[in-house]
């Protein structure tokens, strides 16, 4: 098989071929590294590449296969890791000057699990600084470009991970999703991305931004491969006190589905949603209906959705201001060289220089929302709205198996287009934040193209029903396939 061609195989199929010794892990990893060298100058998905260790690990896995040893479920395939997740011995920069030189002394639980199933860690990917952004432009190391169209942003904040998978620079990747940071770049880069149920995946080793909202989530080019990586990373972990044991140990994707009823909240298609996006998603729904598959749709209304975005940002920024208080430049991180200054001045200088503009903005707003006199009005009120939103979702899931929305309200936009208007950029998260506030799982699957750019469909399920998302997601990708050869760097 031609070297680059193996990268175009569905990843679950490549895993079978490695297991059957038709191809080797080393071949696959070497082809991926070659691909990275070719496309990185245009895409810039990675902050750190882990080349030699990846090849060495692949060779060891191949040796194990030849000896007839038990091969893990990831079968020697390369995985890219967002650079806010710890991989021992390499930097975890969070795309920040603050952590530019921070070498991580331990592996995140998800990384341990990937290595335990013979996944090969191939590099650390670009993100918005501390995962705060929707376009991967707020990176200290410069923006990632969308492999589908390199004049566009890849979405964010996990834009590097999504771009790497989309541009065949990795078989899988991990991102983190606090308010849509997996689903947004999955949608913009025309791949599949999951935000798991809160508590399904351990956050041990994920650099905290807003703990009550975020989950590590997988990216892949197809739903089945996304489900495979999900089953590897999910499960109880004593090192994360919010970890749950409710995720099913064997994620079975049944061949024959029960009929699924899907609620379509109209608020997800209203204010702030581009016509090309809503039309593409609505067309996708009618094509699914006409295909006679076991899906039925009904339009509903969830009025509290209107308030989800401000409530989300108040909570996220409040948690961020508290979490990022730890960066003092003493034990690790950026430290001003001047040694004559006193404690308070050093802190303020370290943080003033070490953090970028968006991080500073969020720390300031979070500090404000938590400060005496404003706490009830902002933070407490937002948490009460969260309760009301949850009630609406609980009610909807009594009637429907899934809920459906566009993944992003707008098409991939031009680099630099929204950099100077923070509020406009926040508005890009209107479709995704409800799943974070309510803790439910949500999957983004490509469902069509508008003005030559990819559009993602977002499916939401009750807690721990990722199985339903994957089953419905597979129907969407089977019935509404998007031609990846239309993109600039999305095919070999």
């Amino acid at each position: 098989m031609a070297k680059q061609r193996i990268l175009e195989l569905p990843v679950w199929e490549a895993a079978d071929k490695i297991r059957g010794q038709e191809i080797t892990s080393e071949e696959y990893v070497a082809a991926t590294l070659k691909r990275i060298r070719e496309v990185e100058p245009d895409v810039h998905a990675y902050i750190t590449l882990i080349e030699e260790p990846a090849l060495t690990q692949a060779q060891a896995i191949d040796k194990k296969i030849r000896r007839g040893g038990d091969l893990g479920r990831l079968a020697g395939l390369p995985v890219a890791i967002k650079d806010n997740i710890c991989v021992r011995g390499f930097t975890t920069t969070c795309a920040s000057k603050m952590l530019e030189n921070f070498v991580t002394p331990y592996d995140a639980t998800v990384v341990e699990r990937i290595l335990g199933e013979d996944g090969v860690i191939i590099g650390k990917t670009n993100l918005d600084e501390f995962a705060m952004g929707t376009s991967t432009e707020y990176s200290y190391f410069g923006p990632t470009k969308n492999p589908w169209d390199t004049s566009k942003v890849p979405g964010g904040s996990s834009g590097g991970s999504a771009a790497a998978v989309s541009a065949l620079e990795a078989a899988f990747a991990l991102g983190s999703d606090t308010g849509g940071s997996v689903r947004s770049p999955a949608s913009f880069c025309c791949i599949v991305g999951l935000k798991p149920t809160y508590g399904a995946v351990s956050r041990y080793g994920l650099v905290s931004y807003a703990n009550s909202l975020e989950q590590i989530g997988p990216f892949a080019r197809d739903v089945r491969s996304c489900a495979l990586l999900t089953s590897v990373i999910a499960g109880y972990d004593a090192r994360d006190s919010t970890s749950s044991d409710k995720f099913p140990a064997d994620l079975v994707l049944k061949r024959s589905l029960p009929k699924l009823t899907i609620g379509v909240p109209r608020e997800f298609f209203e204010e702030g949603v581009q016509e090309g996006v809503s039309k593409t998603v609505r067309d996708a729904i009618s094509r699914l209906e006409k295909a006679g598959v076991k899906l039925s749709f009904e339009e509903i209304s969830l009025p509290m959705l209107k308030y989800a975005l401000p409530a989300y940002y108040i909570i996220a920024m409040s948690e961020a201001s508290s979490n990022l208080a730890r960066y003092d430049g003493i034990r690790y991180g950026y430290r001003v060289p001047d040694r004559t200054l006193d404690w308070g001045t050093v802190f303020s200088k370290d943080r003033g220089v070490g953090f970028g503009a968006e991080v500073r903005r969020r720390i300031m707003l979070g500090t404000y929302a938590l400060s005496a006199g404003y706490f009830d009005q902002y933070y407490l009120k937002a948490q009460k709205i969260r309760t009301l939103l949850r009630r609406e979702f609980d009610g909807a899931f009594k009637r429907f198996d899934l809920l459906l929305a566009p993944s992003m309200p707008i098409l991939p936009f031009g680099l630099g287009e929204k950099m100077e208007d923070p509020l406009q950029l926040y508005m890009c998260d209107i479709e995704t934040v409800p799943a974070n506030l309510t803790g439910i799982p949500s999957l983004s699957v490509p469902c069509g193209v508008s003005e030559g750019l990819p559009v993602g469909m977002q499916l939401m399920a009750p807690p721990f029903r990722e199985d339903l998302l994957f089953q419905a997601g597979r129907l969407v990708e089977d019935l509404l396939p998007v031609d990846r050869s239309a993109g600039e760097f999305t095919h070999a």
Binding site: I314, V346, R360, I363, Q383, K384
Partner: protein, 101 residues
């Protein structure tokens, strides 16, 4: 959101400076002015939540029903040398901190 609400000044220059002090962020005068404008616009948008009646609604700080997760207080092997490597200023096996007084 009304136009009036958008133009309303929620936060004064002095308050921005006080916040920066609380958050320990040293900023230039120019940044203060820019931030004040941005913060006011964003806070104006946040006030959308004022429309919602939350009387007698309890807050959701967390979506799970887990309370007080405890573990045994047993030491596990650590890597102090690797941790020390990351300290930007140190002397021997000590981390150097700025002076307190």
């Amino acid at each position: 959101m009304t136009k009036k609400q958008r133009q309303e000044q929620f936060i004064s220059e002095k308050e921005v400076e006080h916040l920066a002090e609380l958050a320990k962020l040293e900023l230039s005068k120019k940044e203060f002015t820019k931030l004040r404008g941005e913060l006011n616009e964003i806070l104006g948008y946040f006030r959308l939540i004022d429309e919602v009646d939350t009387e007698n609604v309890s807050p959701t700080y967390h979506v799970q029903d887990i309370v007080n997760v405890l573990r045994d207080d047993t030491p596990t092997p650590q890597q102090p040398d690797m941790l020390l490597e990351d300290a930007p200023q140190k002397k021997d096996r000590f981390i150097k901190a700025p002076k307190m007084i």
